[in-house]
């Protein structure tokens, strides 16, 4: 409509303020528990157990975090962070490498049973970790991989979702590009590394974010196969810190651990965001 400046989406005046107010309330609502956890990680044990719970940070920040990182309750949080980092990175990178290669095979090579393999991979989507956890445990135990990084990582590395995603992406890459590479003398793996991989850069970044968080947040699997506290990952470690029986929980340490557990995924999201957004802006393949 002529004369009516501003799009349908743009709001002005009171509407704008109301929208922002709504959003701020929403954010405050979601952020409040995290804030409480942060506050709890900076005060002393007595301040938490004696109501009312303080709403402003105390003066024990350095002490609590140092204690958590170096001593923890069962194992130092620094160790658990390192374990989680190795597991999350292993799962994310392993999944990306394997699914890139399997998608490459399925899209670019004609071999007998190609579709069978594709559907087999696809079928595993229907079997989440929880369903196959007992046989998987059996296999890992027989391989002697309990309490090891390979035991933490390997069973979670296969990924139908990522394979499917890369397959869909590879199918949008024009055939002519593969043919041009063939005429240029690039063999299949050369084409994969020189052309397909750089073109998938943004997809890889997006997947890395998702898979890193997936790996980081694994709870049930590490709980099953790590009995040695030094192999605990942080997400399951928090639960392990809870007291059993009549022990009393040292809440400031637990809360410090929780806050520490949140930091790496947040850093990954923030760090990868730029690449992620650039991937969305670059329209042309």
């Amino acid at each position: 409509m002529a004369g009516q400046s501003g799009g349908m989406v743009e709001k002005r005046g009171r509407g704008l303020w109301l929208t922002h107010l709504g959003l701020i309330i929403g954010i405050a609502f979601i952020f409040f528990p995290i804030w409480l956890a942060f506050v709890a990680s900076t005060v002393e044990q007595q301040d938490i157990v004696r109501p009312p719970m303080p709403l402003l940070p105390g003066d024990q920040l350095v002490e609590n975090y140092t204690r958590a990182l170096t001593a923890g309750i069962n194992a130092p949080v620094a160790t658990m962070l390192m374990n989680s980092l190795i597991m999350a990175l292993g799962i994310a990178l392993g999944k990306i490498a394997i699914s890139l290669l399997s998608a490459f095979a399925i899209v670019y090579f004609r071999f007998p049973g190609r579709m069978v393999f594709f559907w087999l991979i696809f079928l595993t989507l229907m079997l989440p970790v929880e369903v196959r956890i007992v046989p998987t445990y059996e296999v890992i135990a027989n391989f002697g991989m309990l309490n090891s990084y390979s035991g933490l990582i390997l069973p979670l590395v296969a990924s139908a979702t990522a394979t499917f995603l890369f397959r869909q992406f590879f199918m949008t890459v024009p055939d002519e590009l593969a043919e041009a590479a063939r005429v240029d003398g690039a063999g299949p793996m050369r084409f994969f590394f020189d052309i397909l991989l750089p073109m998938s850069r943004t997809n890889i970044a997006a997947l890395f974010v998702i898979l890193f968080i997936y790996g980081w947040n694994q709870y049930l699997w590490p709980l099953l196969i790590t009995t040695d506290p030094s192999m605990n990952t942080i997400v399951m470690g928090i639960k392990q810190m809870f007291p059993s029986g009549d022990d009393f929980a040292h809440w400031p340490t637990i809360m410090a651990t929780s806050i520490l557990a949140m930091v790496p995924p947040v850093l990954v999201v923030i760090g990868m965001q730029r690449l992620f957004v650039r991937g969305l802006v670059e329209s042309e393949k």
């Binding site: 590009l177 043919e179 041009a180 063939r182 005429v183 240029d184 003398g185 690039a186 073109m199």
Partner: protein, 338 residues
């Protein structure tokens, strides 16, 4: 520099044969255009020469070496694709240099060759850009540059101009032609555009449903088409076809008479056996195309000089031509020489 020869080249997908045996000997430095409508097998033919499609039977020889089972890179060819197929994440320089890098050409020679190609194609200022930062014509040039730097024995073009607008297409056509003359590289060029075919080709192959209907110099093909299909496909507007028995020729049933639009004259209705009503005219300045509907059905187009009077729509006109310009085709489409 190389000769190329195809001997009874055939291609089947499963049981369906799509190329029914093509034979041609291409001389060194010759520019061959393969022209035909969509689905006639022209691209398949080119891709067999490139090595991107397997050969079902027959043989492809480049410089007297049978290359049926040789990988594309070892055939000493370079190909320009319809959608350019530039590597989107590489700069113009890297796009052109990629093949040379794989062939382990020394760095300074790669730079010299790319610089030379960029000079010829006026791409010097764009070497650092990515393909998406270039216009269609520039991308086209990069695709050609990628072919040139390899110094191949044969250039293969797969409808390279079909994604450009009309004006740019004419310009690039001239550039391709002069470039090919300059470099003297044997070239095969696929197009569905008969104007491109006529202007570029030393010789052209007119393909029709997997068969090379005619192979010859453009003007020979135009003036002396071997089949009804060629007569109808080459030339715009296409040849007029009339039932031959109407002209009183002594030919088998179902034969057709072909006559080019520029050979038909409009005369008074009383002077001709053929008469039709003018449906509409297209005055193009230098010439006028007059479309007529014959009284007994059938359409005829007449191309006449732009200076001649243009008949009004609905006027009944007679049609005349000299017997030496008419061509007779039998019912199976083949030419009948009388």
């Amino acid at each position: 520099m190389a000769t190329v020869s195809l001997k009874d080249l055939r291609k089947s997908y499963g049981k369906t044969e799509v190329i029914h045996g093509v034979d041609i000997d291409i001389a060194d430095g010759e520019f061959i255009v393969i022209v035909g409508p969509s689905g006639c097998g022209k691209s398949t033919l080119l891709r067999m020469v490139a090595g991107l499609e397997t050969v079902t039977s027959g043989e492809v020889r480049i410089d007297d070496r049978q290359v049926n089972d040789v990988e594309p890179m070892d055939r000493d060819i370079a190909m320009v694709f319809q959608n350019y197929a530039l590597y989107p994440h590489m700069s113009v320089f890297d796009n052109m240099a990629y093949g040379l890098k794989i062939a382990r050409v020394p760095r300074d020679e790669i730079e010299a060759r790319v610089a030379n190609a960029a000079e010829i194609l006026q791409l010097k200022p764009y070497l650092k850009r990515k393909p998406r930062e270039l216009s269609g014509g520039q991308r086209q040039r990069v695709a050609m540059g990628r072919a040139i730097v390899r110094k191949p024995a044969v250039f293969l073009f797969d409808e390279p101009l079909s994604n450009l607008d009309a004006k740019l297409r004419v310009q690039m056509r001239l550039e391709i032609k002069s470039l090919q003359r300059e470099l003297g590289v044997t070239s095969l060029y696929v197009t569905h555009d008969q104007v491109e075919a006529m202007t570029l080709a030393d010789r052209m192959i007119v393909m029709n449903q997997g068969v090379a209907d005619q192979i010859g110099k453009p003007l020979d093909v135009y003036s002396d088409p071997a089949t009804e299909f060629v007569a109808g496909f080459i030339g715009s507007p296409p040849t007029n076809f009339l039932p031959a028995d109407r002209v009183g020729l002594n030919v088998p049933d179902q034969s057709k008479l072909g006559i080019r639009p520029e050979h038909v004259r409009l005369v008074d209705q009383t002077e001709s056996d053929f008469a039709g009503a003018v449906v509409y005219s297209e005055p193009l300045g230098a010439e006028t195309l007059v479309h007529l509907k014959l009284l007994d059905g059938g359409d005829v187009t007449v191309r006449q000089d732009g200076a001649l009077p243009i008949p009004a729509e609905g006027t009944n006109c007679g049609l005349a031509w000299s017997a030496s310009d008419q061509m007779v085709f039998s019912s199976d489409g083949s030419r009948q020489r009388l």
